[in-house]
Subunit: 239 residues, 2 copies
């Protein structure tokens, strides 16, 4: 059930059977959310962390004029609010973009892991650090890339992350976001998202229909987006 979390962790380091057993044992409760519901809400002090087993979710903040900025996207195998365990207080909300199936892990169990399993603790830490690395990549894209390259970069990133947890089929993957949601990710207007996507389509870099994206020319897309997957730390080594 937590296979996608294991795939995730195992893309960075070897996970022993004992550790896997410990991870499995920490999942005692599951929950399902409908699209649009908050998995975690801003200002809350959850007593547990939320492991996304299946679905897409987004961290977001609202600004005063009512607009929204999505600060990260989460997929199967992501520990969406692991950071709230040391942080205690959620400074942003997390919303389900599709129906989501999650597992809840109590802080007391996480704390137990940090007291007894330094290696797993470092892997959890690593997981949140990769979140940070993704944030930095997004900042670079927002600040110094064209909106077109920014969208292309996001698509490269999602393809690779989904591939790790076996959610791609060939060059295609399920992409359930609406254009309005994508606008909240990139930080531009809905109209401009639409026109930018069309421009990517016109250059035969990708197709996007029926909530499915197909990358038509990976090399050109990657080069155009200046995508370098180093920041995702997909190498198995002692951590």
């Amino acid at each position: 059930m937590i296979e996608s979390l294991l795939l995730n962790l195992e893309s960075h380091d070897v996970v022993s059977e004992a550790e896997k057993a410990l991870l499995r044992s920490m999942v005692k409760q599951e929950k399902r959310f409908a699209a649009g519901e908050d998995l975690v809400s801003e200002g809350s002090r959850p007593g547990h962390s939320t492991l996304l087993l299946d679905g897409f979710a987004a961290r977001y903040k609202l600004v005063d004029d009512g607009r929204r900025q999505i600060t990260s996207l989460h997929i199967s195998g992501d520990f969406v609010d692991l950071h709230a365990f040391p942080l205690k207080l959620m400074d942003h909300g997390i919303v389900a973009l599709t129906p989501c199936h999650v597992a809840l892990v109590k802080y007391s169990d996480l704390k137990h892991i940090t007291e007894t399993s330094p290696h797993l603790t470092r892997l959890f830490w690593l997981d949140t650090l990769i979140d940070g690395a993704i944030h930095r990549e997004w900042i670079v894209a927002m600040g110094r890339k064209s909106k077109k390259a920014h969208i292309a970069h996001l698509i490269c990133e999602l393809y690779v992350r989904l591939h790790v947890v076996r959610r791609t089929k060939g060059q295609s993957f399920d992409f359930p976001l609406t254009q309005a949601e994508l606008a909240d990710v990139i930080g531009i207007s809905l109209v401009h998202v639409n026109k930018t996507i069309q421009s990517l389509r016109k250059e035969n870099l990708l197709t996007w229909t029926n909530h499915t994206i197909t990358i038509l020319d990976w090399d050109r897309l990657m080069e155009f987006a200046e995508f370098d997957l180093m920041y995702l730390n997909l190498s198995v080594e002692p951590r």
Copy 2:
């Protein structure tokens, strides 16, 4: 010597004398860098982490056309590349914006801490998580705020962070960045930074002369920037 790190950590949780002693003992080597030098360079695999004792530093990435995006700013008391300890490989560079005085902490000593002091480990983890929270705040500012509000927000953030490590004097603080460097932080052009700053000055929100910023009206600046310091997690509680 590591007093600013202690001030930093103590703004989040109580640090015992034994823990302080352990922290002091981990610093065995110091180093000084001139402004413009890289403290850590992209693609390196440092065997130690760098604790900034004094000075300003910036994490950055370069894009193909030669432009630069700064992804975070660091001040005294910041563990600038603590994240490279689990991450291993630096995916970005860190440059000294002023002359910098740093302490080097070996990974072997950090690893020892993760094996023997779960509480300090969580505090280190917390430190990197706050980095992440700052990144998210920057993403929101980049995506959904005016450039003017973005700059105002950055100034609020720096004021609060510098205050924690006792680097403010009244409503003033030393701000050594050039307008070109600030442009690389905000992700806009140098000319526009200049015009935006002037607009903030005209509204009597702040002054900026001689590398010193003085906040003239904290409440109005904070409100204009939509600054809420919750994300900096400045509350002392068990972590």
